[in-house]
């Protein structure tokens, strides 16, 4: 394989991988704060994209995206408050089923509010035919936008967790909910905030990626599975690990095209998931078995 071809695969893989990474981050953030795997995570990307697309004709693009992000964040909060907040110590199975049911409802709502057609946001810079040369390979400028936005989200989130009071409160809740409550941190605030963050980030990623992958009402479910794969690979504990896992899976998946029949591309990501789950459920990068302790409950 020539170097430019390899580079082309790499860039395409990184673009796809950064979307998976954002979905994985969403899973991780919610899981850390609440112990819940929110299977509806993928739908936030769909919502963000669709809302922005509906608003784009009537306001400048950045404004449409900002509104979409906030609206989806609000939707995430609404979901959490209406459906999840009043359950007391629910069984894991119950939570899994509820969030899967919620993802179906959000998807069907998307179908009936918008339509079954595929839509897309305008490209942030340039248009459908713009092409940048990067060391011999060519990509759309939108790919850079996706990478930059994802990177900003990761950096922003890490800073938030490390430096702000609220972020530290969330980390405290994740590592020991009882102790956190004793320190005066209200668990319900943390939970709601985590849903807002996960939904808002998902929406932003959904907008960034919309010009490239197009937005359709049913795009959420396969993204959720892939994103969860990356979250598990990253150990469900840390955000940077989820990102790294996302990029790895994205690149592996895209590069697999050169050796496997394309029809089995999805099997690559899923095969990786099964292998990891069976061999090393704590993930490739995890240092402490936070996930393992939670999974037993």
């Amino acid at each position: 394989m020539r170097a430019t071809q390899l580079l082309q695969y790499l860039l395409a893989g990184i673009a796809t991988g950064s979307v998976y990474a954002v979905v994985a981050i969403g899973f991780t953030v919610v899981y850390n704060a609440t112990g819940i795997i929110n299977f509806a995570q993928g739908e936030f990307l769909m919502l963000g994209g669709m809302i922005a697309i509906s608003l784009a004709p009537v306001m400048p693009l950045p404004a449409a995206i900002a509104v979409a992000v906030l609206a989806t964040g609000a939707a995430g909060v609404l979901l959490q408050i209406v459906f999840l907040s009043w359950l007391k110590n629910p069984a894991v199975l119950r939570m899994i089923i509820i969030t899967i049911g919620l993802s179906i409802l959000v998807r069907e709502a998307g179908l009936h509010i918008w339509d079954e057609k595929v839509h897309a946001l305008p490209f942030f810079s340039g248009d459908e035919t713009s092409s940048l040369a990067v060391l011999g390979a060519r990509i759309s400028p939108q790919v850079l936008w996706v990478l930059v936005i994802s990177a900003c989200m990761v950096v922003g989130l890490t800073l938030f967790f490390r430096s702000t009071l609220l972020g530290k409160a969330m980390r405290a809740c994740a590592s020991n909910p009882t102790a956190a409550r004793l320190c005066g941190i209200r668990a319900s605030t943390v939970v709601t905030l985590s849903f807002f963050l996960a939904a808002a980030m998902g929406a932003l990623a959904g907008c960034a990626v919309s010009p490239l992958t197009q937005t359709q009402y049913d795009m959420g479910s396969s993204l959720a599975v892939k994103g969860f794969t990356c979250a598990v690979l990253g150990g469900l504990g840390s955000v940077p690990a989820a990102v790294a896992a996302g990029l790895v899976v994205g690149v592996l998946e895209t590069a697999s095209v050169s050796v496997l029949p394309l029809a089995y591309k999805d099997v690559v990501a899923l095969g990786i998931l099964l292998l990891i789950l069976v061999l090393k459920p704590q993930g490739l990068f995890a240092r402490r078995p936070v996930a393992q302790a939670r999974a037993g409950g």
């Binding site: 459906f83 509820i98 049911g101 179906i104 409802l105 089995y264 999974a295």
Partner: protein, 318 residues
């Protein structure tokens, strides 16, 4: 004691016969098609009840086993094997796959198990879609009928409608009997112990891994039988049977029936599948099942019948 245990089964048999006679009398025999199809889908749900309700293991990929059973039977029958070879072979293949998958996967719990089984279901779907032998996206059609004896056959032909109805519901009754016997046996008690607390059960000497695997394989066999028979009845099968939505539906049906209740699952599954196959939910078909999942888990985690029971006992806390 035995009479009390099996009395409901006799009631069901009686009901099955009554319905058929009633439909014949009212000239509404065409309902038997959907009732027969519902029976096969209900078989899957029954197996899943044993797994989820009694052994407490979630499986989001049971559509995969249904599809394996159906496709195996379809391929073998189309290639030319006699149907009395195809059907058992298909069921055997399903069991083997379940065994192979179950050994590594059942070590997982909670979310991880859910995801692993989900991944399994999707992998089956992708393989079916991507392989020409399985007809790709179009699936397989024109599967010859499954000939039993004395002119009896599992087929969609109108003339044999009544026989097929009884075959399907006969299989459901067998499945129920097996399930009931399992539940009331030593194995059933072991399963309930595992469901309550795996570690405690292990401490009491229950071979947790073996029982979980056995239940998993059994539930997969139920699904495989349903899939193979439906493939013969419909004369075809499509890759959609392995889809995520199908697998999720089975879980919804089991949850709505009360997780660990064979009868609850039977009732809910028959009713909802029948309605869905008749198009009663129109364009909201998927949304209905999603709403059921959410609604049941939020308001009636013990199943929809617990709502009725609760009204009987007003003093009962939730």
């Amino acid at each position: 004691m035995y009479l009390r245990r099996y009395f409901p089964v006799f009631c069901l048999l009686f009901l099955v016969i009554l319905v058929q006679l009633g439909l014949a009398a009212l000239k509404l025999e065409f309902y038997m098609t959907q009732l027969t199809m519902s029976a096969y889908y209900t078989l899957v749900a029954l197996g899943l009840t044993l797994l989820m309700g009694y052994a407490g293991q979630v499986s989001m990929g049971h559509g995969g086993f249904f599809a394996i059973g159906g496709y195996a039977a379809a391929v073998l029958a189309t290639v030319g094997f006699a149907s009395w070879v195809s059907l058992p072979a298909a069921i055997l293949i399903t069991g083997l796959v379940a065994l192979l998958i179950g050994i590594p996967v059942l070590r997982l719990r909670g979310h991880y198990l859910a995801m692993a089984t989900l991944a399994f279901g999707i992998i089956v779907l992708r393989i079916l879609l991507g392989t020409n032998l399985f007809g790709g996206a179009d699936g397989l059609s024109d599967i010859p009928a499954f000939r039993l004896f004395a002119g009896l056959a599992i087929t969609g032909r109108k003339a044999l409608r009544v026989q097929n109805y009884y075959i399907a519901w006969g299989l459901v009754l067998v499945g129920l009997l097996t399930g009931i016997n399992l539940v009331h046996s030593r194995v059933g008690r072991a399963l309930r112990a595992i469901h309550g607390n795996e570690d405690a059960a292990a401490a009491m000497g229950v071979d947790v891994a073996r029982f979980k695997l056995a239940t998993f394989v059994l539930s997969a066999l139920y699904a495989g039988v349903g899939g193979a028979c439906l493939a013969f009845f419909n004369g075809g099968i499509g890759p959609g049977e392995a889809g995520v939505m199908k697998s999720v539906r089975y879980v919804a049906l089991v949850a709505a029936g009360g997780m660990g209740s064979l009868w609850g699952t039977l009732a809910v599954s028959t009713a909802l599948t029948f309605l869905s196959l008749r198009g009663a939910f129109g364009v909201y078909d998927d949304a209905v099942f999603g709403a059921i999942l959410v609604g049941i888990m939020l308001f009636a985690p013990e199943g929809v019948f617990s709502l009725l029971a609760r009204r009987n006992r007003p003093g009962n806390a939730q």
